[in-house]
């Protein structure tokens, strides 16, 4: 093979002025941080809502000081009404699923590190990138505005099943303007997600630097790529469904509303729609969505387990292939949310088979993570601890899905706390662990300082997941006061660790790096150090 050299390309100057640098920035790194902090805001609000949910369940007459100011109707005198509980539930789910789980792992970390890891100066379409962030921001603002309308936020849950969500305020408080705003917010979010997905796909396919073959990409890049494909195909459907639902609500159409509806003795003037159509469209998005939430976490976990085991990832090809298999199968399983919905029971069996099949690539991933740890030389950094936690949580959450995938057993467990536990274990806790892992791993690259290891904090987070405020304090404290990190503090191999921390505006200083190896060459026999960077031209003779 001819020796490759880094080639000089046109150097880009960083923009001047606060607005262009930090607000309407075209820099993928700034946009990545914007997404991350948007998710951080959403997760704090979503978490407070979940506390209120718990309080309402355990102490229904508890007085929350100040809550009546925010919601005089929903919490008169600071005491939450039963319907306010449903509002909280709806917004908790919506915020967490869309604005946290879809945003931080993919748009946050992905935006920042996909170009760096594949050796690109930026995302393929920087302006589109900026637009997708600000679109998402508007979506969040519209959603949060439902708190301030008279009847409060909608009460139909994050799945917004019609007719409840379609017939207007006759169906209950929050089903008027609040539900309109919810539908608009989600439609706006879909647009942002679609633009982002296009950008990720184009960047991964077109902007890889010389030598960065697909099969040399870090598994994080594979995860972001597959997630983007899922997003492109699923958010388009949800966008269409939201438009139809909005038309049913304000345009007098009957896509999801059948004839002969009588709400509180009043005949609702709709004819011929199907409530099940919404469920099909929603879950056609909704099941790929749970993989949109978890695949980036899987990528990050694979990347970190290999780095801190000082050993190549176990079965790289299979790991990449299983990401693709999960992605493909995720479009064939939406009916397992609908076993008891009234759809044909014959299709239930088909969806069940596909759902069981998706367990196979998931099991492969778990065993390969264990295989990566096997024979390693484990370094217990904070990022590593969260990745180990991710594996443990994913095992538990994934196995509980085997019950729900069987229609007869599901008809017993459907819509109970078994399901709530299942998806919180996978999407709620495991995906959040993935975010924690990514934060601890990449923080020194993003903002220079290392986040100090607080053993106490980490262990309590492992056990209870309740130490988020210590995390927040730690994050902001480290941002401004932490000790400085070197370029490659973890002795990792991928390209983001070849550039200074934080990386300059155009990432690689006007050059394109050249890649010679895969991303997981740790502990190579005969090598000088126990890791070989992707852009290091040394030859690897061991196999």
């Amino acid at each position: 093979m001819a020796e490759l050299h880094a080639e000089a390309v046109h150097r880009h100057e960083a923009p001047k002025g606060f607005i262009w640098k930090y607000v309407f920035s075209l820099d993928h790194k700034v946009i990545g941080k914007q997404y991350y902090f948007l998710a951080l805001l959403a997760v704090v609000v979503g978490m407070v809502l979940s506390w209120l949910i718990r309080v309402r369940m355990v102490w229904p007459s508890a007085r929350i000081p100040g809550l009546d100011k925010l919601s005089p109707v929903g919490a008169p005198g600071g005491v939450m009404t039963p319907e306010y509980y449903l509002s909280l539930l709806t917004l908790h789910g919506t915020l967490m699923i869309f604005f946290v789980l879809t945003t931080a792992p993919q748009s946050g970390f992905g935006n920042y590190f996909l170009p760096l890891q594949i050796g690109a100066e930026d995302m393929a379409f920087p302006r589109l990138n900026m637009l997708s962030f600000w679109t998402t921001f508007v979506g969040l603002a519209v959603l949060l505005s439902t708190f301030f309308v008279t009847d409060g936020p909608p009460i139909s849950g994050w799945t917004a099943y019609p007719p409840l969500s379609a017939v207007g305020s006759a169906a209950g408080p929050g089903e008027g303007l609040g539900q309109d705003l919810w539908v608009i917010s989600i439609a706006i979010f879909c647009i942002g997600a679609l633009l982002g997905a296009l950008n990720f796909i184009a960047t991964t396919l077109d902007l890889r630097t010389r030598g960065m073959k697909l099969m040399r990409m870090p598994l994080t890049c594979w995860a972001w790529f597959v997630t983007a494909v899922l997003g492109l195909l699923s958010f388009a459907v949800l966008f269409g469904a939201c438009v139809l639902l909005l038309l049913d609500r304000v345009g007098g159409t009957s896509f999801f509303t059948p004839g002969g509806l009588i709400v509180s003795d009043k005949i609702i003037p709709h004819t011929g729609g199907s409530p099940l159509l919404w469920q099909h469209l929603f879950w056609f998005f909704g099941h790929p969505e749970v993989y949109i939430a978890i695949l980036p976490g899987m990528g990050i976990t694979s990347h970190i387990l290999s780095c801190f085991s000082r050993k190549p990832i176990f079965g790289y090809k299979v790991m990449a292939a299983s990401l693709m298999t999960i992605g493909f199968l995720s479009f064939t399983v939406w009916g397992h949310h609908m076993f008891v919905s009234g759809m044909s029971p014959y299709s239930g069996f088909t969806f069940s088979i596909f759902t069981m099949a998706i367990g196979v690539p998931s099991a492969i991933k778990t065993f390969n993570w264990l295989g990566t740890l096997w024979g390693g030389k484990l370094r217990f950094t904070s990022a590593m601890l969260f990745s180990i936690g991710f594996v443990s949580l994913f095992v538990t959450g994934g196995l509980s899905g085997i019950f729900l995938a069987q229609p007869a057993v599901d008809s017993y467990l459907h819509a109970t706390y078994f399901v709530v536990g299942h998806f919180h274990m996978v999407m709620g806790v495991a995906a959040i662990f993935g975010m924690f892992a990514g934060t601890y791993f990449w923080f020194p690259k993003i903002l220079k300082p290392l986040i100090p290891v607080h053993e106490f904090m980490t262990i309590s987070a492992l056990i209870t997941g309740a130490a988020q405020f210590i995390f927040l304090f730690n994050l902001f404290w480290s941002m401004f006061k932490g000790e400085k990190a070197s370029t490659n503090p973890w002795e990792a191999t991928s390209l983001e660790w070849t550039v200074p921390s934080p990386p300059p505006f155009d990432n690689f200083g006007g050059k394109h790096p050249v890649v010679y190896h895969g991303a997981y060459e740790y502990g190579v026999p005969g090598a000088e150090k126990d890791y070989i960077m992707q852009d290091s031209p040394v030859k690897i003779t061991a196999s």
């Binding site: 050993k311 295989g371 601890l385």
Partner: protein, 266 residues
């Protein structure tokens, strides 16, 4: 640190398994003929997934402890994977998961593909915000048609029945409690008036959404007498939490008496 994680993961495993083995939280009583098969499938799934759960979690804990960096200059094993091993666990997972699926298939078919026997007692179930109404066909075995314009909650005509015009409706009996005779097949036809509701009786091991615009049949045979909660299990609006009724399973004799009593009150 390695020890701490290993202990935490092992503890989580042991406690989780103990909760299941000691039946701290367990399934409620089963009163249906199809329920034992579901419970059996549930137990089988619990055993298979339980074995994988224990092996995977304890394996994780063991590896974390065993392969920690002890600072003794040992190098990590340089391995990119093991094709045979990966093929083995892929095949094992596929056989187990698809196998469980096929084993559960028959129960599903029993519940849904086969209709109720012809002699089954037929009852309509109507869900509306936030109440349940049950309609028995009366001695003629016929349900009269529904007239949307006649529906009026205030006068108690929840189904929109016209007793004067429709001979089929004349002897229909509408109640707020679902009474059924023990050991006799029952077919419910589920209806919803306003939004989607869900018919759920845990002890019957039956759950089925009730969708406006659809008539969805379910059938069962109750094997034990008693009073059991019917809960709406699909978020249906602000009073969802209080939308419930009761299933009363009685002897055939008591059931006939109850039905006559109800007919007299129409």
């Amino acid at each position: 640190m390695a020890l701490a994680i290993a202990v935490v993961v092992a503890l989580i495993t042991v406690i989780s398994v103990a909760i299941v083995v000691l039946k701290v939280w367990w399934m409620p009583l089963d009163i249906s003929t199809h329920g034992p098969a579901i419970d059996h499938q549930m137990n089988l799934t619990l055993i298979f997934t339980g074995i994988i759960f224990i092996l995977a979690q304890l394996g994780l804990a063991w590896f974390v402890w065993k392969y920690r960096d002890r600072g003794d200059g040992r190098k990590a094993i340089y391995s990119h994977g093991h094709g045979m091993l990966e093929a083995t666990w892929t095949a094992m997972a596929a056989v187990l998961f698809i196998g469980l699926n096929l084993m559960g298939y028959r129960m599903w078919a029993e519940m849904y593909f086969r209709g109720a026997p012809p002699d089954a007692l037929r009852v309509q179930v109507l869900g509306q915000q936030f109440a349940w109404y049950f309609r028995y066909p009366g001695p003629d075995g016929q349900f009269g048609p529904t007239h949307v314009e006649k529906v009026n909650d205030a006068s108690g005509n929840f189904y929109g029945i016209d007793r004067e015009r429709d001979p089929g409706s004349k002897d229909d009996i509408v109640t707020a409690t679902l009474a059924v005779p023990v050991n006799r097949p029952v077919e419910l036809v589920l209806l919803a008036k306003d939004v989607t509701h869900d018919f759920y009786v845990r002890e019957l091991r039956i759950q089925q959404d009730m969708v406006p615009g659809m008539q969805i049949p379910v059938h069962f045979t109750a094997t034990k007498t008693g009073r059991f909660e019917i809960a709406c299990n699909q978020l249906c609006g602000l009073g969802h939490y209080k939308m419930r009724a009761f299933l009363e399973v009685m002897s055939e004799e008591d059931f006939q008496k109850w039905l006559q009593n109800m007919a007299a009150q129409q």
